[in-house]
Amino acid sequence: MNCADVRLDEYFDGELAEADRATVDGHLAACDACRAELERSRKLEKVLRSVSTSAAPDADRFVQSVRARSRRPAPWRFAAAAAALIGITAIIAFALRGPVDVRAELAKYSEKPGTAIEERIRSAGAAGLKQLEGALDDSNVKVQFAAASLLFKLADAPTRDRVLARFQQQKDPSGWTLSEPGIDDSDDELVPVTVSMAVGGQDRWAMNVLSKLHKLNRQAQGKIVSSVVTLLHSTNVDIQRHALEIVKKLEIDFPLAAVVDLIDSPELGEEALRFLRAETKKDFGKDKESWRKAVGDR
């Protein structure tokens, strides 16, 4: 075995399977250089571990502070989600005559769920399910969740999957979701996480939250602007692209000078120019100086 092929770090960190460890053991027995390197790793670890940290804060005070800063999300939201998942086992057959007003039934269901309403909507067949899907965009969020609950119970698997994809918003493997902002000053604490989620590709959900935040909380507006402007200057083009999307979609006065800086980007230059033209009703091509003068402090 060549020294370059020896997985010394993984060996040292206990990451190797038994057979691979044995192979490295065999090499170490015959190789002074690798043994010396391993010894240096051990010494380095000892030195690095010698660095202490100060004692942790008092546990009770810490927990109390976390509790105070955590707000309970609106309970109905989870009650509705739970209703969607638990389901009702006893279904009463209900014979109906005449057309069913699905929207009206849904409105009733959103206030007080019941199997009779379920059966009436079920009897409307595919047309009823289509209306339920449409109601997922209803401005009343209770109606949205009522529609989601009913779709879980009444729809076929592909429809349920579509509903799940809409509500789960779980592109991020860590599975983050956020509670909706209210009108609490502490809501601006959501900004960093929300902007991270937006640039992480969870656009729809995060944009929704950002949009509400900026309407409800002036302090959050400032934080959103500064977070997004920082991201516009990222070296990662994907992050820049998402940041530009936030600028385009959110009705906040972002400093346009930060967008001017994107003009030179091979990937985003054209998009940045289109946005600047639309915002200013002017066109200076790729002349950044003229753009800067034109956008001034905006």
Partner: protein, 187 residues
Amino acid sequence: MSEGDAMVDAELVLKFQGGEESAFETLVRKYMKDAYSFCLRLTHDAQEAEELSQMGFVNAYRALRGFRGESSFKSWLYRIFINQYRDRLRRTRRAEARLAVVREETERKQSATTVEESELHAAELEEVVKTRIERLPDRQREVLTLHLYQGLDYREIAAALGCTYDDVKMNLSLARKRLKEELKGYL
């Protein structure tokens, strides 16, 4: 982290998701020391570390109902702390850039007393080690801290940082290589 430990976490998460608020408090008490020391290793500032770790738990509380167990709770939690820290870094980096000249000057003086002349006291060694770790590229510092001080294995680190196993391996190896060189007087 043992499998049993992960099981306990998973049970607590399920309890919390089922409405048992006290389960979250148990998780906070279990991880607060680790979280605080992790944030302190990254920030070198006790007040900042407490703020970061508290807000990490607040964000975890808000997000935990959506946690679906794709990674262990521990990796997921560290991911939140990492995101918090990175966000803070983005905000402070510009301000820090203004201090860079002062810092470079200090570091030049520090380098002049080369590490090879290792007659330093423990406190000074600690300062040198902290500075060297602080100067590592972000990803290398995160991987090293999670591994060495928080005891996460490669897979847990990959889940916490949202990167691959090979990225972890490479960054840890680069961090070690650099530190071995910079601290060779102590090894």
